[in-house]
Symmetry: C2
């Protein structure tokens, strides 16, 4: 776990947002942190070279839980048991809300390009290949992912660009956020 | 849950193998089924249009567990709570071992091309784009994914082709199997 990032140019950060997100009935809620989200996204992040993995939740007990999980793998038994996991979880940064997220993300350099994914088609959409090109040209990018049934509309005010919904031939769009993050990072940063 | 698939040509099946796989010390073990593997892979499978999602485990108690989880979302409260999840989990087929897997996969048509992924570089490797082309040309493909620390060497005897390790710039190769499946399906069947 780090307090804040360094100031390299051309990198990607990921933020997993637990508030404000929608529930199944399109009501705005704060979702609970899921243990496997932390692990899977940290591992995918480390695989594709992201810098910071922000976990955004306003709830103190949830923040404490994240701290305990990360601590176990950073300093506790987990660190000795699985060094790969320790390495992945080093990217985790806990964060209260979107405001603090943007403050952290601009603390050490210019404002990153903020992009979000959505299972719904949105305005301001950029293609994956155009975004990949921007990253290759040195843009700093902060990717927001919503838990629950997706980012609430009000969370999109700070977003510059939307990435298109991910899918195949059909119109089923119900990936887990873990799968969505993995695919987005692969599309933007994957090789082979 | 279905007993076996239909006989359309040009489709992809996914098999999640719990035995024989390696543990951390390269010993062959049978791994426990993980609830979120079932959900995440079924949802990714449905998103990218796979036909069957085989869950391969020799253990009766694990098979029962999978049956109960799928049953909850197919016929129980879950089916009413979340119809999207019901739809995704309809692809699940429980299977004892690799032998029964291959028997099921050839029950209704010609033998599929069997491909596996590995975090280790292997011989008989096909690129993702070449495999994608084969699928587009109508090949039936069965993708094997190992849980734990990956498919044991002996599980690779029935495999025709290996897909390359997934990664970015660095050499960290420790994605969760959920993330790996999502990325492989996107690379082979994704649009956009």
């Amino acid at each position: 776990m780090t307090e804040k990032g360094d100031c390299r140019a051309g990198h990607v950060d990921v933020a997993l947002i637990h508030y404000p997100v929608y529930n199944k009935n399109q009501e705005i809620i704060g979702s609970a942190v899921t243990n496997l989200d932390i692990h899977d996204i940290a591992r995918a992040g480390r695989t594709f070279g992201i810098r910071n993995f922000y976990i955004v939740t306003p709830y103190q007990d949830q923040q404490r839980l994240v701290g305990e999980i990360v601590g176990h793998w950073q300093d506790g038994y987990g660190a000795r048991y699985n060094a790969d996991r320790k390495e992945a979880l080093a990217s985790v940064v806990i964060c209260d809300d979107l405001q603090s997220l943007y403050a952290l993300a601009t603390a050490d350099g210019p404002r990153p390009l903020v992009a979000a994914t959505s299972a719904r088609q949105q305005a301001r959409t950029i293609t994956f290949s155009a975004m990949r090109e921007r990253i290759e040209q040195g843009s700093r990018v902060l990717l927001l992912f919503g838990t629950g049934w997706g980012l609430a509309e009000e969370a999109l005010t700070g977003v510059d660009l939307m990435l298109p919904p991910i899918g195949g031939q059909g119109d089923y769009r119900h990936l887990s956020v873990r799968s969505a993050v993995a695919i987005v990072l692969d599309r933007l940063l994957g090789i082979g």
